[in-house]
């Protein structure tokens, strides 16, 4: 029996999770096959628990593990690193908890903060670096770890309470859809709730809009001055958060 056939057989056996024989394995291999079937699932559940720690805390052991096992069946890992496993777990949770949007939002926050943790390094600029910038043509380069997610619940507050070991607040729908931005400042992953205006400004900056065009698009012709002031305020916050890596 070829190596390829043996490996396909063992892979299929592990994925099917049924007791019985795998072709090519010695006759006394049943106990060993059970060890490999168990180890595969146990390791992936442990990986998801580790990555989605606050989601696990929110759902509890039974609810989380059931969701994890469902995800493992639908999404066998393909990447060489376990760190990559779970990227689509929030979507699985959306399907499993259609009436509880905070669950997938918590999972998105868990995932994004983990990715920011070991994302690319970049050096943020200080406000002094903006002294010579021509704002008509300036384009902002933002931290490569920045990611933005849409939310409709107070999931950020829930996540914060769970992380701090406090009793989480009850789930609430936000009065208007909002967003959370996640990035890394120095070595520490960060998150902040943002409104639709900042969400749009960041999206434009990420799309490479010049600062001038960004201000023009965000405000109407009648309130240009007010818009520039508002975006200027945002820019100050972004600089303080270490989000801006270059302007020019």
């Amino acid at each position: 029996m070829s190596l390829l056939a043996i490996q396909r057989g063992l892979r299929d056996h592990i994925l099917a999770n049924q007791s019985g024989q795998s072709e090519g394995v010695s006759a006394r291999g049943a106990a060993g096959l059970a060890v490999y079937r168990h180890a595969y699932r146990a390791q992936l559940v442990a990986c998801l628990r580790d990555t989605f720690e606050q989601t696990w805390s929110w759902l509890g052991d039974d609810g989380f593990d059931a969701a994890a096992l469902s995800h493992i069946v639908a999404h066998p890992p393909s990447g060489w690193t376990l760190d990559a496993y779970g990227e689509d777990f929030p979507q699985t949770l959306t399907g499993l908890y259609p009436d509880d949007p905070e669950v997938a939002e918590l999972a998105w926050l868990d995932w994004s903060l983990r990715r920011a943790f070991d994302g690319p390094d970049a050096d943020p600029i200080t406000p002094e670096a903006l002294a010579e910038v021509d704002w008509e043509s300036a384009v902002l380069t933002l931290s490569p770890t920045l990611t933005i997610g849409e939310v409709i619940t107070n999931s950020a507050a829930i996540w914060g309470a769970l992380t701090g070991g406090e009793a989480p607040p009850a789930v609430e729908r936000l009065p208007a859809p909002a967003a959370i931005r996640v990035w890394r400042q120095g070595l520490s992953p960060q998150y902040r709730s943002i409104d639709a205006f900042e969400r749009q400004a960041l999206a434009m900056a990420l799309d490479g809009y010049t600062f001038a065009r960004l201000c023009e698009q965000l405000g109407g012709p009648d309130d240009a001055e007010r818009t520039v002031a508002r975006v200027g305020g945002l820019l100050g916050t972004w600089l303080q958060d270490g989000l801006v890596c270059s302007a020019g």
Partner: protein, 279 residues
């Protein structure tokens, strides 16, 4: 085949694990080298690389991987190798090791160390994969004997016989896991002493020591307990055969304070020293 040699390194080390990061960053830890899990640091930035760089300034580092999948019939993944090479260039490690096993196939990755049949065909596949890895990394690698829980009907040779021929054909070296020999020997009914006697002396560059657990039917390589007496006894035998070889305590679960592992490492030092003096 690589004709490059990895110089012997006579030291006693520990695996770098997250609960001990602060110890290694803030104190002088009496180890001769540190082993890191390669994949934990094959990242783009952030705290993992900061910690690795800081530890590397203080200690020689050995890189130990779990995802090379050297036995895959469809070969080693190029993107994995590229990322591994990037880390090798950054760390300049004592050596790079992984396991004699396969972890994935055709886009699936089990993230488990799955066993290989010890056949002529598997030997040819493993050797071709090793040659490719050694070409890309520009250095010979070490491969570790895994714990295993089943064997294959078509096996044509012993594990140690397979490894001896693999070393001869590729110029690779061995990381001998003493606990794994004991676990697999118990599970499959072979004599660990015979195994050790069959391992080529000049290829062993590192030894792992660890603990295991009794499963329902089989011994399981859990790395969650101190090194037990039968593994220490086997280590004595290995020291007698292989002489001074870099030795490390592996602990991956129920990780105790660093001091406990250093005490356990002192036991390894004492046993190895006593046997070397007697030799």
């Amino acid at each position: 085949m690589s004709d490059r040699v990895i110089a012997p390194f006579e030291g006693f080390g520990l695996g770098l694990r997250p609960p001990h990061y602060a110890d290694f960053l803030e104190h002088e830890i009496p180890v001769d080298f540190v082993e890191v899990i390669s994949e934990n640091f094959m990242v783009r930035g952030g705290r993992p690389l900061y910690i690795l760089d800081a530890v590397r300034e203080r200690h020689p580092v050995a890189m130990h991987g779990v995802s090379m999948s050297i036995g895959s019939a469809d070969g080693v993944k190029p993107d994995y190798l590229r990322r591994l090479k990037t880390l090798v260039d950054r760390v300049d490690p004592l050596w790079v090791s992984d396991h004699l096993c396969w972890t994935g196939l055709e886009g699936f990755n089990s993230h488990d160390l799955l066993p290989l049949p010890y056949t002529e065909e598997a030997l040819a596949v493993v050797c071709a994969n090793i040659n490719r890895v050694q070409d890309v990394l520009e250095r010979p690698i070490l491969l570790e004997n895994p714990s295993s829980y089943l064997t294959f009907a078509d096996d044509e040779m012993t594990e140690h016989g397979f490894m001896a021929r693999m070393c001869e054909a590729t110029g690779c070296f061995l990381l001998l896991d003493i606990n794994n020999i004991y676990v697999s020997g118990t599970n499959h009914g072979f004599d660990p002493a015979t195994y050790i006697a069959g391992v080529p002396v000049d290829r062993v560059r590192q030894m792992h020591l660890a603990g295991h657990s009794q499963g329902r039917d089989l011994l399981i390589d859990t790395h969650d307990q101190p090194v037990p007496d039968p593994v220490w006894a086997l280590y004595d035998l290995a020291c007698q055969r292989f002489g001074p070889v870099a030795t490390m305590i592996e602990r991956d679960d129920d990780i105790p304070p660093l001091g406990e592992l250093l005490t356990e490492l002192d036991i390894a030092r004492a046993r190895a020293g006593r046997l070397e003096c007697a030799a």
